[in-house]
């Protein structure tokens, strides 16, 4: 990733919950344009917290994070504006249950980006078609399966034309038979050159599309490797032990 333009940069990020519990310890990571970085590690290792710091859904106490050069925790940073440029997909979808699928895709475009109703709907229609859910446009989230909801959630984030996408365990809440339909959409995104940070346990996905794998444990970034070396020849004992546990079957 030597000659890529930097999109997300984290430097010596430290974060505590309360006085004593440190969730992130000196985390540094650079994500270049079009790069796909998969973050894995045992539960409680700080992976989700790390991605939530990128759009300041979680505050940090030390270090700096920038998105396309804009400091995330700067005193004068227009946070809503910055967040609008970073798409985020959550484990539990978080579609707005009181809005139709179409409204879910349009609300941010209209109220945040100031697009007209027609523009927003055209964009939403295009994206729903892309994730194969145009027929569901007038339904409410509660009427869709988990896999469909997560595809809508991805489309909602894409509707904002983000410079990068953050995924926080996007398939962890799904029934097994629905995981692939979501991963397919994500793989297609990587092929279009989207910059992505993905927290996931889907090692098949990581092996297929990740440019780099970040392994975290107890709040630290223990190892960063490309997909070949990380899976076949992990450097640290902790990564070896983690991989042996999750790849045992």
């Amino acid at each position: 990733m030597t000659d890529r333009e930097t999109v997300i940069e984290m430097q010596d990020v430290n974060k505590w919950y309360g006085e004593s519990f440190q969730v992130l310890k000196n985390c540094s990571l650079t994500v270049g344009k079009g790069e796909v970085v998969v973050i894995c590690g045992p539960s409680g290792s700080g992976k989700s917290t790390l991605v939530k710091c990128v759009n300041a859904l979680e505050p940090i106490q030390q270090g700096t994070i920038t998105v396309t050069g804009v400091e995330v925790n700067g005193a004068k940073t227009d946070l809503p504006k910055l967040r609008a440029r970073v798409g985020m997909v959550f484990q539990s979808f978080e579609l707005f249950p009181h809005m139709t699928i179409m409204e879910n895709l349009c609300i941010g475009q209209r109220k945040v980006l100031g697009r007209s109703d027609d523009e927003a709907e055209a964009k939403a229609t295009m994206l729903l078609e892309r994730v194969g859910l145009l027929a569901q446009a007038q339904k409410y989230p509660g009427q869709l399966s988990g896999g469909q909801q997560q595809r809508v959630a991805i489309a909602r984030a894409l509707a904002m034309d983000p410079v990068a996408m953050l995924f926080d365990e996007p398939t962890s809440a799904l029934d097994p038979e629905m995981i692939n339909e979501v991963l397919d959409v994500m793989v297609a995104l990587t092929q279009e050159g989207m910059t992505m940070m993905v927290v996931t346990h889907e090692m098949g996905f990581a092996r297929k599309v990740a440019d780099r794998i970040v392994f975290m444990d107890e709040g630290e970034i223990v190892e960063i490797g490309d997909r070949g070396t990380f899976f076949d020849d992990p450097k640290t004992e902790r990564a070896k032990s983690f991989l042996s546990k999750i790849l045992a079957h």
Partner: protein, 230 residues
């Protein structure tokens, strides 16, 4: 001597315009108490949910005082007591102030419960697409909280409709006060108060029907509610 039931008297009162007007006043007081109470209650709920003690503490104090004392006592203090300090209100002003302030305290707690019930993940999702805090409240929290609080709010309307009768104590000419005034004419206590009760019952029943329609409207995104489906 047992007088028995007087049908003529009953129908006279049922069609009495003076009583009917009293019922309209009761209705007006209810609409005002709910509207002003919701405005006060919303402000109090937001204050109470603030992280800053100096913002939340006054709200906590207000709610403690107004929920912890009877409206009857509040009205007498406002109308009869405050003039001692040179603060004078007319009967109508006193009733409007008392109802709004008291109801505001109750509605604050209902609204706070509704707002708290919206999952944190929804707020994160709204922020993540770039909404400002005011937009998060308006487009994501409020509509979902509203659906949750409609049943308890409806309960409040029903309750306020009846509570307005307390205003009769400082001679506010609402339904109960006018009922009491009419007693002097013929002393048909049972017939007269049954008519008053029917007026209250009619108003609460009509509200019940309205509330059901509102609930159906706000629940349309969620399908029929049942307790055996998660």
């Amino acid at each position: 001597m047992v007088k028995g039931w007087n049908w003529d008297g009953f129908f006279d009162y049922l069609t009495n315009y003076y009583l009917f007007e009293g019922a309209l006043v009761t209705l007006g007081l209810t609409v005002f108490a709910m509207t002003a109470g919701l405005a006060i209650g919303f402000a109090l709920a937001l204050m109470r949910m603030s992280k800053h003690k100096f913002i939340s503490a006054p709200a906590v104090f207000y709610i403690w005082v107004f929920r912890g004392t009877p409206l009857l006592v509040q009205l007498i203090i406002i109308y009869t007591g405050l003039p001692q300090l040179g603060i004078k209100f007319t009967v109508l002003q006193s009733v409007l102030i008392g109802l709004a302030m008291c109801e505001g305290a109750y509605l604050a707690e209902i609204l706070r419960a509704g707002i708290s019930a919206v999952p944190a993940g929804q707020i994160n999702a709204a922020r993540a697409i770039g909404m400002k805090e005011s937009q998060v409240m308006r487009y994501v929290i409020a509509p979902q909280a509203l659906r949750i609080v409609i049943p308890p709010l409806g309960n409040s309307v029903n309750s306020v409709l009846k509570t307005t009768s307390i205003a009769s104590i400082i001679s506010m000419e609402e339904l109960l006060r006018r009922t009491q005034v009419l007693i002097q004419e013929r002393f048909l206590v049972l017939e007269l108060f049954i008519v008053a009760a029917l007026y209250y019952l009619a108003m609460t029943t009509i509200w019940d029907l309205i509330q059901r329609r509102i609930e159906a409207r706000f629940g349309k995104a969620y399908g029929p509610m049942s307790i055996d489906k998660q």
